[in-house]
Amino acid sequence: MSEREPIYVLYRPLPATLLTLVLAAVGALAGLLAGTAAATALAQRDPGPAVWDTSNTATLTGIIVADPYPMLLPADGSPGVILMGVGKGGPPQSVLSMAGQTVEATGYILERDGMRVLEVDSPPTELSLPLPNRAAPVDHGTHAIAAEILDTKCYLGAMKPGDGQGHKACAILCVAGGVPPMIAWTDDTGKNHYALLTAPDGSPMPEQYHGLIAEPVKIEGRLTSRDGWLWMAITNVAH
């Protein structure tokens, strides 16, 4: 304690003997900060391949349906494209009111693994094209799937990562606003599956499940496929 040197006082010139120590402290802090920043950034999980292409508008032709979620069924027979508006909600009334009609819709595409969302930024144009009838739904029986309830907009590309606890509040907000909920899972062969969620009667997923969004859950219900998507009519969600 007795090796005395001048103390540091705010309003006085820095004692020369302390200069090295101050510089060393600044250097150590810079190293600590840069090191932690690099390490924590490197350790972030991979959000998976999903794109939200806001630099190109896309124009799709097809029929608009809303049973229960607004979708555009493309004329080329590819899987249904979920229709949304800007922000955390479903498409505007100008789109909804055209259900059952053949249209040309323009907007931005969000896509993961071939599953698509069209964020409509202008009212679609009505076409007088006849379109082929929709194939009948295929029933796959009841299943219990361990997965997480996601919102289609963020998970398919609007936010990356668009899943998990960190994103929970946002996902709830999306679904409450009318963005269709979904689950995604990978089977034993490594193939990814995506199922849109509804009530047992095929109406939108009940609000009672909103609190379980983004939690690890086991979802039970009847699986069907139609319009290029799997659908799960939920009978129970166990946390």
């Binding site: 001048p6 540091y8 309003y11 600590l32 972030q44």
Partner: protein
């Protein structure tokens, strides 16, 4: 003279400190975002707002560790006391960084929806709360400290209340750890995150424990007491010129015995500003000068030189049988005393 010094000349130090601190924060965010850009290429990229809010949250928790480490580090290695001088700037910076983190969360995760952005983040559909709420409570604590950080509040509240308020930073620390454990740790599978949190907690714990134990041991050396209660301060000639020795009196108070040439005087060890350890300072301009922010007191009366008005308690000293002794009952703050002279025969 010290008046002008204090008012004007400390500005360059603070400006330099803030510049360095600001640059370090920018460095952190730049490294975090830069590394992510390089590693997570499209289509597997992470959304830029998420990157920035993560960088800010991570920076905030690192700064919180630094703020909490500075106290014990300065106590263990007195040469590093300069770290304490601008701690309030570090604290306010921490608050701003954490606040920006929260703002981006409100805007990006809470915005663009059918609900109030703040409520959307803080309240779950069943009325419960999630990990974000813990971060919110921590931010409130940081806000309270940042808002009362001006010396006006310090004087208004008194440094005991003010210090007690600052101790709630440990509550904030626990809340932030819980915020991270119950939030992103559920998503991120890399072991680095729990490892870093544990490393931080262990390091802080070790620093605080070591500093605490050392302090207690120092206080535990009971000084010899005369029959009338006066306390022997040890060999006065061991006190280096312009410095002090701190003696812990039986009643828990600490007294600093300053030596200026051959003259000795005793002051409370507790600085009137933020309770800094006055006895670890030195005599400058003829005044005892606190090592934390340089507040000064005249050694013979415990008063700051005009125009300052701070006063600290003084203690009576006497020489008896060649030994210097201090009266353990303090004088009222600012009471003049007569300095005593180091007894003859001791080497200087």
């Amino acid at each position: 003279m010290s008046a002008r010094y204090r008012a004007v000349s400390w500005m360059p130090h603070k400006v330099r400190y803030d510049l360095v601190l600001g640059s370090l924060c920018v460095l952190f965010v730049a490294v975090f975002v830069g590394v992510s850009f390089v590693v997570n290429q499209p289509p597997n990229d992470i959304s830029p707002p998420i990157l920035i809010l993560r960088a800010l949250g991570t920076l905030a928790i690192v700064l919180l560790h630094v703020v909490l480490a500075i106290g014990p580090i300065a106590r263990l290695w007195p040469r590093t006391t300069f770290l304490l001088a601008n701690r309030r700037h570090l604290g306010v910076t921490l608050f701003l960084v954490a606040g920006l983190h929260a703002l981006i969360v409100y805007g990006f995760y809470g915005g663009f929806g059918v609900q109030n952005p703040i409520l959307a983040v803080l309240v779950r559909p069943d009325g419960g709360v999630g990990f974000e709420f813990l971060g919110f409570l921590a931010l409130l604590i940081l806000l309270m400290m940042a808002a009362t950080s001006h010396d006006f509040w310090l004087a208004f509240l008194g440094h005991r209340v003010w210090k007690a308020m600052h101790m709630t930073v440990y509550v904030a620390y626990v809340l932030v750890i819980a915020h991270v454990v119950m939030g992103v740790l559920k998503d991120e599978k890399s072991l680095l995150y729990p490892a870093l949190l544990a490393f931080g907690a262990v390091t802080l714990g070790a620093l605080h424990l070591t500093a605490g134990i050392r302090e207690r041991r120092r206080d535990a050396t009971t000084p010899t007491t005369a029959d009338d209660g006066w306390v022997d301060i040890g060999d006065a000639s061991d006190i280096p010129d312009k410095r002090a020795r701190v003696v812990c009196l039986g009643n828990g108070e600490r007294v600093a015995i300053f030596r200026d040439g051959a003259a000795l005087s005793a002051l409370s060890n507790v600085c009137a500003h933020q309770g800094g350890p006055l006895g670890e300072g030195e005599i400058m301009d003829g005044c005892a000068t606190c090592p934390w922010h340089g507040y000064q007191y005249e050694t013979h009366n415990g008063q700051s030189p005009p125009p300052f008005t701070e006063k600290i308690p003084t203690y009576e000293l006497r020489v008896r049988g060649g030994r210097v002794e201090v009266n353990p009952s303090a004088n009222a703050p600012g009471t003049p005393t007569t300095p005593v002279t180091i007894p003859e025969g001791t080497n200087t």
